[in-house]
């Protein structure tokens, strides 16, 4: 896991180099180039197909979606399914949007804080057992979550945090990947700057807050948006922890909705569209950061 991350991050500088080079024509022969574009466009169509199929289904009416033989294109596109969902008082979709944003947002803020702090600590300070602790962080990266989920659940039971949103946030407050990454970026901050601040009487916490954090701005944005995405998409942990309906996050709500509450495909697909849309907006705005974050961390 580790080599790939280093490999990927070291190559990122070369992306910039390539960008500066003028947009050189590919040396493919003309027909081959057309074929290449054709394949890529066909591939894009196949990639987009499930999205389109979902969107079309959400626009069909309740009777049309059950028709046999099924229709490909909605005959009378209608927003009825969306209207039904938002007027369903037993559902209260906004509540679950809030839960998801709250959980993903809080854990992201905590991860950003702990990662940058850990990065500064490991990069610029020495203490006994440092390598051992760092090694433990490295090992914990490769462990699948399912190996530790049972004891983590039992811990929550002991802390009486089961079925609360904090039970989702706290175990995700520190990210080993984040610390390892941030250590690399703090490493390149020159010691002279830090020493200058120390001579001027700054405490270490001031240095962290005033010098280190501002230097890490773009890196923090990168992993921040990535961790927000991971938190938003997280399914298994909320599925285990949350039992009260009002405290569910969107992914858990969605499965409950599609499995039990409603057997209507049009409503299920409409909720699916509504779950996807916020992440889609984030992706449109922060595509560059998300991709860079994945290249750096390899987190899934």
């Amino acid at each position: 896991m580790i080599p790939s991350r280093y490999g990927a991050s070291s190559t990122l500088s070369s992306i910039r180099r390539r960008k500066q080079r003028s947009s050189k024509q590919s040396t493919f022969y003309r027909p081959a180039r057309w074929l290449l574009y054709l394949c890529l466009i066909l591939g894009s169509a196949v990639t987009l197909l499930p999205f389109v199929w979902m969107l079309l289904a959400s626009l069909k009416s309740a009777s049309e979606i059950l028709r046999i033989p099924p229709t490909l294109w909605p005959e009378n596109p209608t927003l009825a399914s969306y209207r039904t969902i938002f007027s369903d008082s037993g559902l209260g979709l906004w509540r679950f949007y809030f839960n998801s944003i709250f959980v993903a947002g809080c854990s992201t803020i905590l991860v950003l804080f702990s990662s940058s702090l850990g990065g500064y600590l490991f990069a610029k300070h020495h203490f006994p057992g440092k390598d051992l602790l760092y090694g433990t962080f490295l090992i914990s990266i490769m462990l699948p979550f399912q190996i530790i989920m049972i004891p983590r659940y039992l811990l929550l039971v002991n802390f009486q945090l089961v079925d609360s949103l904090w039970g989702l946030i706290l175990p995700a407050a520190v990210s080993a990947v984040g610390i390892v990454l941030m250590r690399q970026y703090v490493d390149v901050i020159p010691n002279e700057i830090l020493d200058a601040a120390r001579i001027d009487g700054a405490t270490e916490w001031t240095i962290y807050w005033r010098i280190v954090l501002p230097q890490l701005r773009s890196e923090l944005a990168t992993i921040g948006i990535l961790f927000f995405m991971l938190g938003w998409n997280n399914y298994l942990w909320p599925l285990i922890v949350i039992t009260t309906p009002e405290r569910r996050t969107l992914p858990v709500l969605f499965t409950w909705y599609s499995n039990g509450h409603s057997n209507r495909l049009d409503l299920t697909m409409a909720v699916g569209v509504l779950v996807i849309i916020p992440m889609l907006l984030v992706y449109m705005v922060g595509q560059r950061w998300i991709i860079r974050g994945i290249a750096w961390t390899g987190s899934r």
């Binding site: 896991m1 080599p3 790939s4 490999g7 990927a8 070291s10 190559t11 990122l12 960008k19 947009s23 024509q25 574009y37 890529l40 894009s44 987009l48 499930p50 199929w53 059950l66 033989p69 490909l72 702090l117 500064y120 600590l121 300070h125 020495h126 006994p128 914990s140 490769m142 699948p144 399912q146 190996i147 530790i148 049972i150 004891p151 983590r152 659940y153 039971v157 175990p171 407050a173 010691n191 020493d195 405490t203 916490w205 962290y208 399914y235 298994l236 992914p251 969605f254 495909l265 299920t268 699916g272 779950v275 889609l280 992706y283 595509q287 998300i290 994945i294 290249a295 390899g298 899934r300």
Partner: protein
């Protein structure tokens, strides 16, 4: 630079450990405390705990002994769980089925993933600069999509009556297939339902490998390809003899990461099939989840988790061995 660092020595007396307020050891202590306690509480303790669980007949519904509920009504049974895994009980059979399914899933999905992503990454990288961003946007889209939504939309694609796949099959005059619910349907010896979840998982996951491979492609110096082209090599040979060998380290790490991921892929399988039909898509993590949180057999689930840990360890060691070979090139 180092003169200042050399003056910091580990404190000798434990009460001096906090040092002066604002000093470096004060900072180390205050910053280390939360990180260390998190690490011990949420990472190290759970791993040991899982290992301990596998030696006990543990159920959360029984109160058990004083320390973490071990002992008492949750008795120590030694290696009994692992012995029982070889046995003939329904649980053991389900465990073995899920282990085989997990391996099948990973060993089909990883090559499939690479067969799609390697050519795709090369293709995206060789189009005009203007369109690269567009294609990247499209091909990464599934990856940022919430996994539950991915599962739902694919479940709908596979729907026996309303699903697009069966509409197409009927359209070209073929027999419709019950993709997710027919235990007798197989393709190449592998259940159709397993193929179906593999396809959905690969579609969802390919963006990660694309990113890794594209980053690796961009790191290959253009001069190598240039030189080959001047020597008269065709584009195909440039790809086969220069690009692909230089991509090898990236391919090794991408495939390990993907394999690790597919060993513990949960969301899509749980939602699309929940292990069915007749346990043909029951994978190890699904079995762990069901045993621990639906049947309350946490001891057994802990033993299963330990087996998963061994598998992951094996793959990691293999990758380290593969990655140790020298792949350096100078520009």
């Amino acid at each position: 630079m180092s003169s200042l660092e050399r003056t910091i020595t580990p404190p000798r007396r434990w009460w001096k450990v906090f040092g002066k307020r604002g000093g470096r050891s004060y900072f180390v202590l205050t910053a280390l405390l939360p990180l260390l306690s998190y690490m011990l509480l949420w990472e190290v303790l759970p791993i040991i705990w899982t290992l301990c669980l596998s030696f006990f007949d543990y159920s959360p519904s029984r109160s058990g002994g004083v320390i973490l509920g071990f002992g008492g009504t949750n008795p120590y049974i030694g290696l009994e769980h692992f012995r029982r895994m070889m046995g003939n009980s329904l649980q053991a059979q389900l465990f073995r089925t899920s282990l085989i399914n997990t391996l099948m899933f990973a060993f089909i999905a990883v090559p499939l993933n690479l067969l799609i992503t390697i050519p795709l990454a090369v293709a995206i990288e060789s189009v005009h600069e203007r369109f690269k961003g567009f294609f990247r946007f499209i091909y990464f889209l599934p990856t940022v999509t919430t996994s539950v939504a991915v599962a739902a939309m694919w479940k709908y694609l596979y729907h026996p009556q309303q699903g697009l796949f069966n509409i197409i099959l009927k359209g070209v005059g073929l027999q419709p297939v019950i993709w997710l619910g027919d235990p007798r349907a197989t393709l190449g010896g592998v259940p159709v339902a397993l193929w179906a979840v593999i396809l959905a998982s690969v579609w969802h996951d390919m963006g990660y490998n694309l990113i890794i491979l594209i980053a690796a492609l961009q790191a290959i110096p253009e001069t190598f390809k240039e030189a080959a082209r001047i020597d008269g090599a065709s584009e195909w040979r440039v790809f086969w003899h220069i690009t692909l060998p230089l991509l090898r380290p990236a391919i090794v790490s991408a495939s390990t990461l993907t394999m690790m991921y597919f060993f513990h892929a949960f969301d899509i399988i749980q939602i699309m099939t929940d292990g069915g039909p007749s346990n043909q898509t029951q994978v190890l993590v699904l079995d762990i989840y069901q045993n621990a949180f639906r049947s309350g057999r946490m001891g057994w689930a802990g033993a299963e988790a330990f087996i998963l840990f061994l598998i992951v360890l094996l793959v990691t060691l293999l990758q380290l061995r593969l990655a140790r070979k020298e792949w350096h090139y100078d520009t």
